[in-house]
C-alpha cells in the first residue's frame, strides 16, 4: 500500500470562467481519517467529485491510490480493466442518494456485492450499519437516516481501501450519529483510508486524524483538530465569580498561573471556575471569516 492515498497539486476547476477550485493542494495519508471542512460553495464537493472520477478538472495533478481519476473519462475506457480495478478499491457515499424504491435492503446490498471481486458478506455489512431489522424492508419505506446507512453499506460492501463520505450524517439523530462514528472508526482500524466532508465540527473533531479547511477553492489550513489554527496555543479564557457575585473573564496565555493566583486569593475553591480554549468551531469560523 502507498504511503499517501491521495495527492493533489494545484487542482483547478472552472465553471463558466470562474474558478470553483483554484490551485488546491492536498495530501491524504494511507489509513487516516481526513475531514474536509468549508462553507457551502467553497469547492468541497467539486474537489471530492474530481477525486472520485465524477468530474473532469481543468488543471493540476491528481493521484488517488496511485491512479489519475481522469482516466475514467478517457475514450474507450468504459471497459478498461484498469479503471474497473481502481473502482473496486474506492468506495463512494454520495451526498444525494439514488434509491431503488421497490427492492429490499438485502436485495440491493447483495446485488452491489456482485460488482466486486472480494466483497464483504452482505448480511454482515447490513448488521454493521445497523439495518438488520430492516433487511427485508423495501428501501422506500426507510427513514432518512436509515437510507443514509444503506448508502454507507453500499459504499463499504466492496471492502474499499479508500472510502469517500460526502456529508454522511446529515439528518441523523444524535444517537445514530454516535453509532455511525463508531462504524467509521472501526473501518479506519481495519486500514481503510477515509475522506469525509461535513458541516458538523463536532464530527470532524471526534473522528478526524486531520482536518483541512477549504474556502474559495483553496485549502487554507490542514492540521489535527487539536492544533488547527494554533488552537492549542491560543489564549485561554478563564472565568469565575467574585465574592460580590459578579462574573469575571480574563484571557491568558498562562491560565495555570492565573488559576493558582485566583486559588490563593480565594483561599481554596474558586467559585464558578472554568478554563476554556477556543473550540474547533471558534477557530473554523475565524478562519473562514478571515478568508472571506
Amino acid at each position: 500500500m502507498e504511503a499517501t492515498a491521495i495527492e493533489v497539486n494545484g487542482l483547478r476547476k472552472l465553471y463558466g470562467g470562474t474558478a470553483a477550485v483554484d490551485g488546491l493542494d492536498l495530501t491524504v495519508r494511507s489509513g487516516e481519517i481526513f475531514a474536509l471542512l468549508g462553507p457551502n460553495g467553497a469547492g468541497k464537493t467539486t474537489t471530492v467529485e474530481i477525486l472520485e472520477g465524477y468530474r473532469r478538472r481543468d488543471g493540476g495533478q491528481v493521484s488517488v491510490l496511485g491512479v489519475d481519476p481522469a482516466v475514467v473519462h478517457g475514450r474507450g475506457t468504459r471497459t478498461d480493466p484498469a479503471v474497473r480495478r481502481w473502482r473496486e478499491r474506492v468506495g463512494i457515499v454520495l451526498q444525494g442518494t439514488g434509491e431503488f424504491d421497490e427492492l429490499t435492503v438485502g436485495e440491493v446490498v447483495t446485488h452491489f456485492a456482485r460488482f466486486y471481486p472480494a466483497p464483504d458478506d452482505p448480511a454482515t455489512v447490513i448488521d454493521r450499519v445497523g439495518l438488520s431489522a430492516k433487511a427485508r424492508a423495501r428501501t422506500h419505506t426507510l427513514s432518512g437516516g436509515q437510507k443514509r446507512r444503506l448508502d454507507v453499506a453500499l459504499g463499504i460492501i466492496g471492502r474499499p481501501e479508500l472510502l469517500f463520505l460526502d456529508e454522511p450524517t446529515t439528518g441523523f439523530d444524535p444517537e445514530a450519529r454516535r453509532e455511525f462514528w463508531a462504524l467509521i472508526r472501526d473501518l479506519a482500524r481495519g486500514g481503510t483510508t477515509i475522506v469525509l466532508t461535513t458541516h458538523y465540527l463536532e464530527e470532524a473533531e471526534t473522528l478526524a486524524d486531520r482536518v483541512g479547511v477549504i474556502t474559495a477553492g483553496r485549502l487554507i489550513a490542514v492540521d489535527t483538530p487539536r492544533e488547527l489554527g494554533n488552537r492549542a496555543s491560543a489564549l485561554a479564557t478563564v472565568s469565575w465569580r467574585t465574592p460580590e457575585g459578579v462574573w469575571e473573564r480574563a484571557q491568558s496565555a498562562t491560565p495555570t498561573a492565573l488559576v493558582a493566583d485566583l486559588a490563593a486569593r480565594f483561599g481554596g475553591e474558586v467559585p464558578g471556575l472554568t478554563v476554556t480554549r477556543p473550540t474547533l468551531e471558534d477557530i473554523y469560523l475565524d478562519m473562514i471569516g478571515a478568508a472571506a
Partner: protein, 260 residues
Amino acid sequence: MGLGLRQGVLEIRQFLRSREQVMFTLAFPAILILVFGSIFSGEIGNGVKFTQYFVTGMIATGLMTAGFQALAIQIPQERDRGVLKRLLGTPMPRWVYFAGKVLMVAFIAVLETVILLTVATLLFDLDLPDTGAKWLTFLWVSALGITACTLCGVAFSSLARTGRSAPAVVTPVALILQFISGVFFVFTSLPGWMQNVASLFPLKWMCQGLRAVFLPESFGPREPGGSYDLPMVALVLSVWCLVALVLCLTTFRWTTKRDG
C-alpha cells in the same frame, strides 16, 4: 454475463412490485382492443374483421410503450434520483445497466403481447397466424421493432432535462406517432402527406410488418406501396436501430446537468 442477467432480474422484480405500473403497462393494449373491438365490430372487407386490423396496431403500440416510452421516461427519472450516478461510481461494467433494461423490456413486451392476443382471440375471434412462415415474420418484426424502440428510448432519454419533464417530452411523440402510423385508423385512409411523415418513423413499419402476419395475403395490394414489402420493413427498422445506437453511444448521460 451473469451480472447482466442479475440486473435484468432486479429490473423485472422492481417492475412487478409496482402494481400500478404492472396494471397499466400490461393491460393497456388489451383494454384498447376491447374498446376498439367493441366500437368497430364490422369488417374491412372479404370477411376480415376490424379486430384483425386493429390487433396489429395494438401489438406495435405495446412494443413502443414497453421499449420507447417506458425507457425514455424511466431513465431520466433514475438519473434525477442519482441511481445512474451511484452505479457509475461502482466497478459495474456500464453495459450491465442496459442489459438489465433490455431484459425488462423484453419481459414486458412478451407478456403484454400474450395477454393482448389471448383477449383478442377469446373475445373477438382473432385469427392467429396459420403458417410457420407467418409466425417467423411475427417474431422477427416484433424483435426488430422492439430493438429499435428500446434503442430510441435510451437515445431519447438524454433529451429530457429532468425526470419530471420526461413524460411531457415523450408522451406527445408517442401519441402523434400512433395517430399517423395507422394504429387507430386504417393507414391508407390517412392524408398522403401524413403517410409520408409516418413512413420516416419505425411505428408505421412495425404495423405494416404485423399486418403481413395478421391479414390475408390478398390484402397486400391495399398497402400504400402495393404490397407488405417486408424487405423494406426490415431495412427501415434496421436503419433506426443503427441510428439510435449511435445516438445512445454518443449522447447518453449518466449524470444530470447540475452534476457537471
